[in-house]
C-alpha cells in the first residue's frame, strides 16, 4: 500500500482540485479481494437481459406496488422496463442495485430513483425533490426540470438534468457527477465533500457554501459564493474532462467550457488535519 502522505507528485484528480487532502490510516487500505468473490453476495440484485423489454402502467398503483412490480420484472430477467403514467408519484424506482434500462414516460415526484447502484434511468419529464438521493452508480438523465436537493449525497454515477434545478443541488455530495443544462438555485453544492457539479446556466446565492472538497463548474452568472467557496484556475485537464463529460451527458453542444468558472473549497472554514477519525479518537 502506497503511503499517500509522502507522495510528492500531484495526481490528475488533484490537479483538478479534488482529493487534495492527505489520506492516511487503515480505513484507506481496505480493498475488495478477488479471491473472496465467491463469498461476495449483493442482496437484492438480479441478472437481467437488456434485450428483454416490457412496459408497466403505474397509473393505478401506489409507489410500493409499483416498486414491487419493477423488482418482480427484474427477477423475471427483464432488463429494459418502460414505466407509463408515473404522474408525479413519489419514490418510484428506488433501491435498484443492478444494471437495468429504466425509462419513465412522464414525471416523478419526490425521492425518485433514490439509493440506486447501477441502472441507467431516463425520465421523459420532470422530477421532484431529492431525485437520485444516495445514488451509488449508474446514470440518470432527466429530460425536463428537477426540484430541490437534486443528487443529494450521491456517492457515484452520472446525474444529468437537461432543464433547470432547484436549491441545494448536490447537497452533501460524496462522489459522482451532477450535470445541469439550465440554471440552479441557491446553496448549490452545500457541504459537498467529493465529486463534481457542472451547471451550464446561472446559479443562485451561496454557491458551494461550507464545501469540504469537490469541484463546481458554472457556465453562467453566480449569485454569490458561500462560506469558504473560492474560485480556482481552469486547467487543460478541466477543459478536457468537461468536454468529454458533456458529450456523454448529451447536453451543451458547442458550449465553450473554457469560459466556465471553477469553484473549490478554500479549506479555511474547517480544521483540516492529517488524522483520520479513527486515529483522532485514539489520540484523544
Amino acid at each position: 500500500m502506497a503511503n499517500l502522505k509522502v507522495t510528492q507528485k500531484k495526481t490528475k484528480a488533484q490537479s483538478m482540485g479534488m482529493h487534495t487532502e492527505v489520506l492516511t490510516g487503515k480505513t484507506q487500505q481496505k480493498f475488495f479481494n478477488p479471491d473472496e468473490a465467491e463469498n461476495f453476495f449483493y442482496w437484492g440484485t438480479h441478472d437481467v437481459d437488456f434485450n428483454k423489454r416490457t412496459e408497466l402502467d403505474v397509473k393505478d398503483m401506489d409507489c410500493k406496488e409499483a416498486n414491487a412490480k419493477i423488482d418482480s420484472l427484474m427477477n423475471e430477467g427483464y432488463g429494459t422496463i418502460v414505466i407509463k403514467n408515473p404522474q408525479g408519484k413519489h419514490s418510484l424506482g428506488v433501491g435498484i442495485l443492478n444494471k437495468l434500462n429504466l425509462i419513465f414516460e412522464g414525471s416523478l415526484g419526490y425521492f425518485g430513483v433514490g439509493s440506486i447502484d447501477g441502472p441507467i434511468v431516463r425520465v421523459n419529464g420532470r422530477v421532484g425533490w431529492s431525485c437520485a438521493e444516495n445514488m451509488m452508480a449508474g446514470k440518470v438523465v432527466i429530460e425536463k426540470n428537477a426540484g430541490s436537493c437534486f443528487g443529494a449525497a450521491i456517492r457515484g454515477g452520472d446525474l444529468v438534468c437537461k432543464g433547470s434545478v432547484g436549491a441545494r443541488t448536490g447537497i452533501d455530495q460524496k462522489g459522482g457527477t451532477i450535470i445541469v443544462g439550465g440554471d440552479a438555485g441557491a446553496f448549490t453544492g452545500f457541504m459537498m465533500q467529493r465529486g463534481r457539479i457542472v451547471i451550464l446556466g446561472d446559479v443562485g446565492i451561496n454557491l458551494g457554501d461550507s464545501m469540504y472538497d469537490g469541484t463546481i463548474y458554472v457556465g453562467g452568472k453566480i449569485g454569490s459564493f458561500g462560506s469558504d467557496a473560492v474560485e480556482a484556475p481552469m486547467t487543460k485537464n478541466d477543459i478536457d474532462w468537461l468536454n468529454r463529460k458533456l458529450k456523454v451527458a448529451e447536453i451543451g453542444d458547442n458550449f465553450d467550457v473554457s469560459k466556465m468558472t471553477k469553484v473549490v473549497a478554500g479549506k479555511k472554514l474547517w480544521n483540516y488535519d492529517a488524522l483520520e477519525p479513527t486515529e483522532k479518537k485514539g489520540a484523544i
Binding site: 414525471s107 438555485g185 446565492i205
Partner: protein, 313 residues
C-alpha cells in the same frame, strides 16, 4: 409540513371548487388536521359576501373548548344587532354549520370599523369579506370540508387552498388557513413554513392598529401584506418586502379579487411546483396536486429562491 395549492384561469371561469378540492386532497398526507379554501368568482359586485363563525368545530381532533351550542344563536343575534347599528343591510343569510354563516350584505363604509364592531362579539371571527371572495375553512381533509360546505359546485376564476398539519398552534378553525387580509376586502393568504420573527412583527403591527385573531404564525403574512397595502404598496411590492421583513422558511400564496401571487423565501426551504400556460396557472407543494387536474404530460418547474410572481385573471 403543510400542503398548499392554487390556480388561476385567465380569461374564463371554471369549476374552481372541484379543481381545488382535487389538488388539496392529493396533498392530504402533508396536512390532515384542517383544510381551507379561498375561492374567487366574478359576481355582480353589488353586495359584500361575509363569512363568519360564532364558535369552533369541537369535533374529533379539535383542540377547542367544548361549548353549549345555544351560545351560537346568542352570538348570531349580537352580530345581527351590530350590523344594524353599522347601517349594513342583510340581503341574504345562510347557516352553513351550527357555528358558521354566510351573509350577503349591503354596506358602503369603512371595513376596519365594520370588522372591529362585528368581532367585538365573543368568539366571533370574520373569515372573509369581499365582493368575490368565499373563504371556507374547517377541520378535516379537503373532501370532508368540500362536502360539508358544498364546494364542488362553486365556479370562479381562481382560488388558493391549504391542507394543514398543526405545528405552531391549535387544531381549530381560527388557526386554519387561508387567512383573510384584514381589513382589505377579497385578500387571502395560505402559507407553508415557519416564521421565526412572528412576535416582533406582531407587536409592531398591533401598535399600528392591525389585528390578529389567532396565534398562528401564518396569519402574520396576511397582516404584513395588508399593512403594506394600507400604506400604498401594491400587492407585488408588499410581497417583495416580505422576503426581508419575514424571517424563517416559507412559500406562500396570496390572492386578490383579480390576481394570484406566490413568494418563496431566500433559502428556498419549502417546496413549490408550478405549471404555467397562456390560460391556466396551477401550483402546489407537490407535483401530484397539479397532476390531479392535469393528468397529461406537462412541463412544470420549481420557482427559485427569493422569487415573487403575480398573475392576473
Amino acid at each position: 409540513m403543510c400542503g398548499i395549492a392554487g390556480l388561476i384561469h385567465r380569461g374564463k371561469s371554471s369549476n374552481v371548487g372541484e379543481e381545488l378540492q382535487s389538488m388539496l386532497q392529493a396533498l392530504k398526507h402533508r396536512g390532515p388536521d384542517s383544510t381551507g379554501y379561498a375561492l374567487y368568482s366574478q359576481n355582480d359586485g353589488q353586495n359584500f359576501i361575509m363569512r363568519f363563525k360564532v364558535g369552533e368545530n369541537v369535533g374529533e381532533g379539535s383542540t377547542s373548548v367544548n361549548e353549549d351550542a345555544s351560545v351560537y344563536d346568542d352570538r348570531k343575534k349580537l352580530v345581527d344587532k351590530n350590523l344594524s347599528e353599522l347601517g349594513a343591510i342583510i340581503v341574504k343569510e345562510e347557516k352553513l354549520t351550527p357555528y358558521s354563516y354566510r351573509y350577503e350584505i349591503k354596506y358602503d363604509k369603512d371595513l376596519m370599523d365594520f370588522s372591529k364592531k362585528i368581532e367585538s362579539v365573543e368568539m366571533v371571527e370574520i373569515l372573509s369579506i369581499g365582493k368575490s371572495l368565499e373563504l371556507i375553512k374547517d377541520l378535516g381533509d379537503a373532501k370532508t370540508v368540500s362536502e360539508r360546505y358544498n364546494l364542488d359546485k362553486v365556479t370562479g376564476t381562481h382560488g388558493i387552498g391549504h391542507a394543514r398539519m398543526a405545528t405552531e398552534s391549535g387544531v381549530d378553525i381560527k388557526s386554519a388557513h387561508p387567512f383573510w387580509g384584514y381589513p382589505f376586502a377579497d385578500v387571502s393568504v395560505v402559507h407553508n413554513g415557519q416564521l421565526t420573527n412572528y412576535w416582533n412583527n406582531r407587536r409592531a403591527l398591533e401598535n399600528k392598529g392591525m389585528r390578529f385573531m389567532s396565534e398562528c404564525d401564518s396569519e402574520l403574512i396576511a397582516v404584513f401584506l395588508a399593512e403594506k397595502m394600507r400604506n400604498g404598496a401594491t400587492l407585488e411590492e408588499g410581497m417583495k418586502e416580505s422576503l426581508t421583513g419575514l424571517d424563517g422558511v416559507f412559500t406562500y400564496f396570496v390572492a386578490t379579487k383579480d390576481s394570484l401571487g406566490m413568494a418563496k423565501d431566500t433559502m428556498a426551504a419549502k417546496p413549490l411546483v408550478l405549471y404555467e400556460s397562456d390560460d391556466l396557472v396551477a401550483m402546489g407543494s407537490e407535483e401530484i396536486a397539479i397532476r390531479s387536474i392535469l393528468p397529461q404530460e406537462i412541463t412544470t418547474y420549481d420557482p427559485f429562491d427569493g422569487e415573487v410572481k403575480v398573475w392576473q385573471i
